[in-house]
């Protein structure tokens, strides 16, 4: 024990991988949700004759 942290690349990769998965996953979810909402809104307004 000398107070210096050695190694630990597996933790670095884990932190970056989790961040990438969460951010890219949420980004894809939001974009997909937008297109679904747009299609649904267009269909809805057409359906009731607006």
């Amino acid at each position: 024990m000398n107070g210096i942290v050695s190694g630990g690349w597996e933790f670095v990769w884990a932190a970056y991988a989790v961040s990438a998965v969460v951010l890219v996953g949420y980004c894809a979810h939001v974009i997909n949700g937008f297109f679904k909402a747009r299609v649904s809104a267009e269909r809805g307004t057409k359906g009731i004759g607006l």
Partner: protein, 235 residues
């Protein structure tokens, strides 16, 4: 109204490019820190996430105040986007912090003031998201979630100052003047990338909220729709 997302998509692409560049710099170019070694590289993603989370939470607070003051729907759409983004960022912060804590503190989690107040913040904003999900009446939903956001935001300065007010395992914030330039470049690049990415995502998310509300208001309950119109809606 036809909504387009070309500009926010461009922000997302630009943000991702910045994040790639910052990550490459942080992992391959910046030197290992003297005491924490390579594990310190987690800071290049953890600190920008923390800065962005604090800004998004503050934006949620501003949107809540603006909605309660002006009662304009666009502030509620922005609030919805900011609340959801806050939950994602707070969750990400807790996970990154845990991964950082194991090799440096020897534990995955500790009920230290910073971590505890952060967990409270995550729970509070998850609760506000659930609140929005369960209230069907749009005005009530917007008002209640704006009030809840203002109450929840009280925890944000407590999270920030917790490392100064109490004896904490979590280190105190470093200033720009105390960080070496080699460490600062990947940190700022990732922060810029994160800001662009989050701005793009939140713009799209608030437009989705606007579309959903448009549809919610346009569509009366099916029981009140005349039979012919109802069959068209169902088709």
């Amino acid at each position: 109204m036809k909504k387009r997302i070309v500009f926010p998509l461009a922000l997302i692409v630009l943000g991702m490019l910045c994040l790639f560049a910052g990550t490459y710099d942080g992992l391959a170019i910046a030197p290992a820190e003297q005491h924490m070694g390579d594990v310190q590289r987690i800071m290049y993603v953890h600190v920008p996430t923390a800065w962005t989370a604090m800004l998004v939470l503050t934006w949620a607070f501003v949107c809540a105040l603006m909605y309660l003051t002006f009662a304009a729907w666009r502030w509620d759409h922005r609030l919805e986007a900011a609340i959801e983004m806050s939950v994602v960022l707070c969750l990400l912060l807790c996970i990154q912090g845990s991964i950082w804590a194991k090799p440096t503190w020897g534990v995955w989690w500790d009920w230290d003031p910073r971590l505890t107040t952060m967990a409270v913040l995550l729970m509070a904003f998850s609760g506000i998201t659930a609140l929005r999900f369960f209230i069907e009446e749009p005005v009530k939903r917007a008002t209640w979630s704006a009030v809840a956001t203002i109450i929840g935001y009280v925890d944000v300065p407590i999270v920030y100052f917790s490392v100064k007010w109490w004896n904490s395992l979590h280190q105190q914030q470093s200033g720009v003047s105390t960080i070496s330039r080699e460490f600062l470049i990947p940190l700022l690049m990732n922060f810029a990338g994160m800001m662009l990415l989050i701005a793009g995502i939140m713009t799209i998310r608030s437009r989705t909220a606007a579309l959903r509300l448009e549809e919610e208001i346009a569509l009366p309950p099916l029981t009140l729709v005349p039979a012919a119109a109802a069959s068209e809606v169902m088709a």
